[in-house]
């Protein structure tokens, strides 16, 4: 099934209702579809349509216009330099770039065909366009670069059938009521930004875009627009809680928050759940290569944890159960392990791509995709993620998940942020190094920190080294860049 069919259906079923808005600029699904046909004429002939910008109407217009002309859509991080963009765009051939005003001239000077996003949308909205939805489902719909927290970013290939399978398998067409509005503040180059657009359009839920996340604007937009649903990454949750602490107004319209994108510290989750007792929380776990969400810990699980049920409290640290349309298997090497045993997480399903541009497909012959995340599944199917396989520290033959040590460190009152990595060691293979950002005014020392961990975990999981740093490197969506932490620890300052 082609992505454009989802928009075509939304246009047929959506009437005059606003489907998307950025500030005062609004589009119904039918207006979007008409603009897409017109924009398709402007990008026709391109081998790919890139998008370099914050959230704006140019994003949905560009995505579906690319589908209309059979070219892949390539949202890129707008924080990349022109040189970095060139490196990613180079292999894609004759690309048309949809960019924000500030970038247009510099990119055009490098020989690219560049369309200014807002101008493209304005032009595409003139008159009305029409066309035939392509039948193609096999062609790449979106090339999405992975976060690259452990290695250089790769371009995941998401074909039309992957994305449409995800949407059709997880949401019911037109099921949103008229009051529903989703606030989308995750960046357009993140798979959650793509999934938010497609799911909400298909649900018939009005999408309110923030160009970029900013906590005060997020809170004021929820209040002003009567936002009912929002997806956020964990770093946003902490900042939202800070803003909510400033007054007692709360967020009365908000019904549901889903969070995901990286591990959520339990302290952060507890704080936002306490601050928003009426809101239904969902933890979503997924990867770029799996067309976003593959497992969810739903509102019922969060409610059970709120009531203090110890099993449910423990499961708050899980990512819930896989979707009915997805299968999961935990393996050590090639062999599936018993329930409760840790190993590498493999998944299978129609939304799972596992394919990278220019590389061999990573699926095994039975269609299973190695997520390169480690974890385990409990006896009721709850999936617990320990972290990336590549991040696992092997110290003296023992596998150690950095996340376990980091959770303990975050419980230390003086620790604001931390990163645990394995550094090469002649005796142990790897030794455990912790880089720590202290709370303002705190004066903990390395020995005190190590004692704190030793009392809670065993000696082999106590950091061999503790380094205090001013800040840690994170991606825009709050993922720790471990390879940067490691290389800075290995480079004496």
């Amino acid at each position: 099934m082609n992505l454009l069919l989802l928009l075509d259906m939304a246009a047929a079923g959506g009437g005059d209702e606003v489907a998307l808005q950025v500030g005062d600029d609004q589009l119904s699904a039918a207006e979007l579809l008409s603009a897409v046909w017109r924009a398709g004429e402007l990008v026709d002939g391109a081998s790919a349509v890139a998008y370099v910008g914050t959230n704006g109407l140019g994003f949905p217009v560009g995505l579906f216009a690319a589908a209309a002309v059979g070219a892949p859509f390539v949202p890129l991080n707008y924080r990349l330099s022109d040189d970095q963009l060139d490196e990613l765009l180079g292999p894609l051939g004759d690309v048309v770039i949809i960019a924000e005003g500030g970038r247009v001239d510099a990119l055009a000077a490098r020989g690219h065909r560049v369309l200014e996003g807002d101008r493209l949308v304005a032009q595409a909205r003139q008159g009305s366009g029409a066309g035939e939805v392509p039948a193609d489902a096999e062609h790449p719909a979106v090339l999405l670069h992975t976060s690259g927290t452990t290695s250089a970013p790769k371009a995941a290939v998401l074909r039309h059938r992957h994305l449409t399978s995800y949407v059709i398998g997880t949401v019911e067409f037109g099921a949103a009521d008229r009051e529903e509005a989703a606030l989308v503040s995750v960046p357009p180059y993140h798979v959650a930004g793509l999934a938010n657009l497609l799911s909400n359009l298909y649900l018939g839920r009005r999408i309110v875009y923030l160009r970029q996340f900013e906590a005060e604007e997020w809170v004021s937009t929820v209040r002003r627009e009567g936002v009912t649903h929002a997806m956020v990454v964990p770093t946003m949750l902490a900042r939202i809680a800070d803003v909510l602490d400033a007054d007692d107004a709360g967020l009365p319209s908000l019904r549901a928050i889903s969070y995901g994108g990286s591990r959520t510290p339990s302290t952060v989750l507890q704080r936002i759940m306490d601050r928003l007792p009426e809101v239904a929380f969902t933890n979503a776990y997924g990867l770029t290569e799996t067309s976003s969400t593959i497992a969810v810990l739903g509102p019922d699980d969060h409610r059970a944890a709120r009531s203090g049920d110890p099993v449910a409290v423990g499961r708050l640290a899980s990512v819930g159960r896989v979707l009915p349309t997805v299968e999961v298997q935990v393996r050590e090497g090639d062999v599936a392990v018993a329930i409760g045993q840790p190993g590498e997480i493999w998944v299978r399903g129609e939304q799972v791509s596992g394919e990278y541009r220019g590389l061999d497909p990573s699926l095994d012959p039975e269609g299973w995709f190695p997520t390169r995340d480690r974890g385990w599944v409990d006896d009721e199917g709850y999936l617990f993620i320990e972290g990336r396989s590549d991040d696992t520290i092997i110290r003296g033959g023992e596998n150690i998940a950095p996340s376990e040590i980091e959770e303990v460190l975050l419980d230390h009152p003086d620790v604001a942020q931390c990163a645990v990595v394995g550094v090469p060691d002649e005796e142990w293979g790897q030794r455990i190094a912790a880089a720590i950002v202290l709370e303002d005014g705190a004066d903990a020392d390395a020995d005190g920190i190590r004692d704190f961990v030793r009392q809670r975990l065993r000696g082999s999981k106590t950091p061999d080294e503790v380094t205090f740093v001013d800040e840690l490197p994170y991606t825009e969506t709050g993922k720790l860049l471990r390879r940067v932490v490691l290389s800075s620890l290995l480079t004496p300052s």
Partner: protein
């Protein structure tokens, strides 16, 4: 007819249109209002009229499925005439609500 995922089929008797989501291995006859549905380019029988006794036509965005056959279609255009497979009415697939993750 032999179905395959992604195949778009039009009603011979109304505006109804479906897209195949899951296709059975063997041939089946998928019909709307009592008349076989048409792939792109296939012409409708001039004599075709809706058999209303079969029930209501498909609704936009609903999925219709026969789990035993391994057949599932998505209605991409609403229209008159009930969907049938090999003469049996194809029931609407119950929505299994999932927690909203987007």
């Amino acid at each position: 007819m032999q179905l395959r995922p992604g195949l778009k089929l039009n009603s011979a008797v109304s505006d109804a249109q479906v897209v195949v989501v899951k296709a059975p291995a063997g041939e089946v006859e998928l019909a709307c209002g009592g008349w076989p549905m048409l792939a792109e380019g296939e012409a409708a029988d001039a004599a075709a009229t809706i058999d209303g006794s079969l029930g209501e036509g498909p609704l936009l965005g609903k999925r219709y499925a026969d789990e035993d056959l391994g057949l599932e279609v998505l209605c991409s255009r609403a229209g008159d005439g009930a969907l049938t497979v090999d003469g049996r009415v194809l029931p609407v697939k119950g929505a299994k609500p999932l927690p909203s993750s987007d």
